[in-house]
């Protein structure tokens, strides 16, 4: 297959496409981090006061 030069449209929209890609990757990373944080909080030992009240 012959190597083709980039279409002019792709060149023009390069910054936009890279920006959207980076934003999406960051969003996925943030949701992943949020999930880890939320699940980790579930397994934190309960405060001593609640143990006493039980």
């Amino acid at each position: 297959m012959a190597i083709k030069v980039d279409h002019e449209l792709h060149k023009r929209r390069l910054s936009r496409n890279i920006g959207v890609g980076v934003a999406l990757i960051l969003f996925v990373g943030l949701v992943y981090g949020l999930t880890v944080a939320k699940v980790s909080d579930l397994y934190k030992p309960a405060p001593a006061t609640s143990e006493v009240s039980e």
Binding site: R13, S15, R16, I18, G19, L30, L34, V36, K38
Partner: protein, 313 residues
């Protein structure tokens, strides 16, 4: 005209990522991020850092989305005012439809994600903030009443309340007073600006107080709101998030602000024109530092608490 010249014209109008980002009003977003962060950090309940970071980000995105919807609705007046002619829609880089789509999509995403990351109260407050800014302020009041800035200021005042709600899940006197601080600060801040950017709002048909009631009345309003602002700022210092550092900052800054507002009140337009609006520009600059330093002082009080310092005791 050659093909090359046609191409270069098209290129200059093609929107880059930065143009879409500009729809979110990054400078306003920085104030939203800062005040929401202070609201979150001064709250008596700790938050997981990742949850806190994500929440602040979603609050910022929600604020930015309402900015995009504001630009979508106000594209016609943005084309008329010098200050806003370079925005993405008036400059022809982004279409009104794109701004609307981005604003709606990011609004929905920010509210849902804040609800999942923090709690329903924070998400509900963010949704109300977006609704208030876009529908109540932008679509309804901005072009209808000269009190537009007063009521519209409420939208910009919600972020510290949302930050507080992220941590506590509720509303309290502290968060209401943080809201009131930004709310009472907004009118003198914008009216001081309006006094030295004459004509811009009149050309666009926006009923700014300077246009509808005259500049003398605007000067009186600035002084009146500065007094209200001082009462709110001092009252905030007496709550659980205040303390000696905050109170010292508040007393000094409010003294300076009232003095600045008094100077603006006592002048007439001839005096103002003669020195290129020195007092009005000075008050506007002071207003920028005013808000930053008040919230900064609250942050100092909160950061001193782990060492047994800060607060009233």
């Amino acid at each position: 005209m050659s093909d090359a010249s046609i191409q270069s014209t098209t290129d200059s109008r093609e929107a880059g990522f930065g143009d879409y980002f500009a729809l979110l009003k990054p400078r306003v977003m920085s104030l939203v991020v800062f005040t929401a962060l202070v609201g979150l950090l001064v709250a008596p309940v700790g938050v997981n850092p990742v949850v806190g970071l994500a929440s602040i980000l979603f609050i910022a995105v929600g604020g930015g989305a309402s900015g995009a919807l504001n630009m979508w609705w106000d594209a016609d007046i943005d084309r008329k005012m010098r200050r806003t002619q370079s925005r993405p829609i008036p400059s022809g880089k982004v279409t009104e439809g794109e701004a609307f789509a981005i604003g709606m999509a990011l609004s929905a995403m920010a509210v849902v994600m804040l609800g999942l990351a923090a709690n329903l109260m924070a998400a509900a407050l963010l949704a109300f903030t977006i609704f208030f800014y876009v529908v109540i302020y932008t679509m309804w009041l901005k072009r209808w009443t000269p009190q537009n800035i007063v009521i519209g200021g409420a939208a910009g005042a919600f972020p510290p309340m949302i930050g507080w709600a992220v941590a506590t899940g509720g509303i309290s006197i502290e968060s209401v007073l943080m809201f009131a601080l930004t709310f009472a600060w907004t009118p003198p801040h914008f009216w001081a600006l309006a006094l030295f950017t004459k004509g811009d709002y009149a050309n666009a048909g926006v009923p700014m107080l300077t246009v509808t009631h005259g500049r003398k009345a605007t000067r009186a309003h600035i002084l009146g709101y500065s007094l209200v602002l001082a009462v709110v700022a001092i009252a905030l210092g007496l709550t659980s998030i205040g303390g000696p550092v905050y109170m010292a900052v508040a007393l000094i800054l409010n003294g300076m602000f009232i003095k600045g507002a008094w100077d603006v009140f006592r002048r007439d337009d001839a005096a103002s024109d003669a020195d290129a609006h020195k007092a009005e520009r000075g008050l506007f600059k002071l207003s920028l530092a005013y808000l930053f330093l008040h919230y900064g002082a609250l942050l100092i009080e909160a950061s001193l608490k782990p060492f047994g310092l800060g607060g009233w005791g």
